[in-house]
């Protein structure tokens, strides 16, 4: 019998914690941000989502966004996030491929 003892290669990580936002009681009358990261096809998904939300929830309003920096994918800066947060009640995004 033999034993091989080695050192663990996996690094510990810095942990972050963000409290999720409170959800909306209803989508009726809400202003919804539609965030597209500019990857192909995401705009079509948001088009259809907007149409469905309009159809099912009275008084919804919409604002379209993309990030102010980036290339294949456009990213949201802190300033973008501040602006969006000030203008809408909720956001539907296409950023996760």
């Amino acid at each position: 019998m033999a034993r091989l003892e080695i050192l663990n290669p996996v690094a510990r990580t810095v942990e972050h914690s963000v409290k999720p936002a409170s959800r909306l009681a209803t989508l009726e009358g809400a202003t919804i941000g539609l965030y597209w990261n500019m990857k192909a096809g995401g705009d079509s998904a948001l088009d259809r989502t907007e149409a469905l939300l309009r159809e099912k929830f009275a008084g919804t309003k919409f604002r379209r966004y993309t990030g102010s920096v980036g290339w294949l994918m456009r990213h949201c800066t802190a300033e973008d996030a501040d602006r969006i947060a000030a203008e809408v009640d909720a956001v539907v995004g296409t950023t996760a491929d």
Partner: protein, 448 residues
């Protein structure tokens, strides 16, 4: 989206099934493991509008729920085991080693090749090669925000087959990876095959027997030092940066370049100042440069005897619109929104010594090659825009909208001439290499 949640705005993300694990892991690394998703079966890319609309319709209930139902408690996230020592028993040491290999593969900690066991004695030998202490933190490495202590780097270096001479080089490489401008989060997690090309300059590379000549990129005994250092960078990205395939590395096809891609510049046979001098370092400094690259194309030319002719041949390698970086400047710059860094898309050329001499004899240096290549490497706008999102170009360069009316106009494949990085590598005979790059190279000094 996590930043919007932080600001009190509920969000929901469309996510293709294949990226669900990635999305959860990414959100968790930013502190919000339970970020709501609207899961669709396929990525929207390459789908027709009708198919995309269908997917959006079928995911609509998830959109509604994501914005209105309380977010569930964060899902459990894999954490590194707290046990800093691992033990494997077997009939003999070879058997125990086999069990270690099998376990590391199951855990995702291995690159697929057999690993050298990181015993305390082997790791200790590496730790004695740096003035830094084992607990010194070199960086926090994304995408997993892993704490890159000197000891963890040494452990992964041993696993790769490195000796003590490699640890200071690996430390410099990790500093390159962690530089904000590197935006490694994007390159590590992307669906594209981003491989870290590691270029070593200076006396410490020579002391570590890094090969710059024949078959510098391997395989073979002359490049053994190159191979293990490049491999250590990959294992460090995995086990320190937590870049794990299918979890936080979503590369759709992979690349053999990602196992190990490392060499030294052939400074002895270069007619020019060493590459690192062009990056602002002293000629006698030792440096590591890391440039993430997607792929490689040979620069073969046995016939040319003039710089102009060589550049025409080189330009044919650059003019490859199927390569993502080609003409990418038309739709913006790679950018990390947190650090507000931006990168131009660079490509690296390894010019072989014979070709370098042709340029030098005609009085050409890097700057002349860059300028000539910038003029020669162009494609018609209609070709360049084939695989790019036109709306992204409208946002990035509204002033260039007129190009649509001149589809045959040749457009440069990079943003400016400095986007071609040139080093001399290889042996006799007219064969170099062109690397299709991802963003900009980063260079760091090797510490004593």
């Amino acid at each position: 989206m996590v930043e919007l949640e932080r600001r009190g705005i509920p969000t929901v993300l469309f996510t293709a099934q294949t990226f669900v694990h990635d999305a959860h892991r990414s959100a968790a690394s930013f502190g919000l493991a339970g970020l709501p998703l609207a899961v669709v079966p396929l990525p929207f890319t390459n789908q027709t509008p009708a198919d995309i609309h269908g997917m959006a319709e079928r995911a609509f209930d998830q959109v509604r729920a994501g914005l209105t139902r309380p977010v569930e408690a964060p899902k459990a996230v894999e954490r590194p085991p707290l046990d800093e020592r691992l033990r494997y028993d077997g009939d003999d040491l070879l058997d125990a080693w086999g069990r270690m290999q099998a376990d590391f593969l199951v855990r995702g900690w291995a690159d697929g090749f057999p690993l050298v066991p990181p015993t305390e004695r082997a790791v200790g030998a590496l730790l004695r090669s740096t003035r830094r202490g084992p607990g010194d933190v070199i960086a926090t490495l994304e995408p997993g925000f892993g704490i890159a202590t000197v000891e963890k780097l040494a452990i992964n270096a041993v696993m790769a087959g490195c000796g003590p001479e490699h640890l200071p080089l690996l430390i410099a490489a990790v500093r390159c990876l962690a530089e904000p401008k590197m935006y490694i989060r994007n390159k590590a997690m992307s669906t594209g095959p981003h491989a870290p090309l590691v270029l070593v300059n200076g006396p410490k590379g020579r002391a570590a027997s890094l090969n710059s000549g024949m078959c510098a990129l391997g395989p073979g005994a002359p490049s053994a030092s190159n191979t293990v250092l490049g491999r250590a960078v990959r294992l460090t990205m995995m086990n320190v940066g937590h870049t794990y395939v299918g979890v936080s590395d979503m590369d759709t096809i992979g690349s053999p370049l990602k196992y190990s891609l490392c060499c030294a510049e052939n400074e002895a046979e270069s007619p020019w100042e060493p590459y690192h001098v062009t990056r602002g370092f002293a000629p006698d400094a030792s440096t590591i440069t890391v440039h993430f690259v997607y792929g490689i194309c040979e620069l073969h030319d046995f016939r040319s005897t003039t710089p102009e002719h060589l550049v025409q041949v080189f330009a044919t390698a650059a003019n490859n619109v199927a390569q993502v970086g080609t003409g990418l400047w038309l739709i913006g710059r790679r950018a990390d929104p947190r650090s507000k860094t931006e990168e131009k898309e660079h490509n690296t050329l390894f010019v072989c010594p014979e070709h370098a001499q042709i340029f030098a004899k005609a009085g050409w240096g890097r700057r002349e090659i860059q300028a000539a290549l910038y003029r020669a490497a162009r494609l018609p706008f209609r070709t360049m825009i084939l695989n790019k999102e036109p709306k992204a170009m409208e946002v990035a360069h509204p002033e260039l909208a007129w190009l649509a009316d001149h589809p045959d106009l040749p457009v440069p494949i990079v943003e400016d001439p400095t986007c071609f990085d040139i080093a001399v590598v290889g042996a006799a005979a007219g064969r170099g290499a062109y690397f299709y790059g991802a963003g900009e190279p980063v260079t760091m000094p090797v510490e004593d």
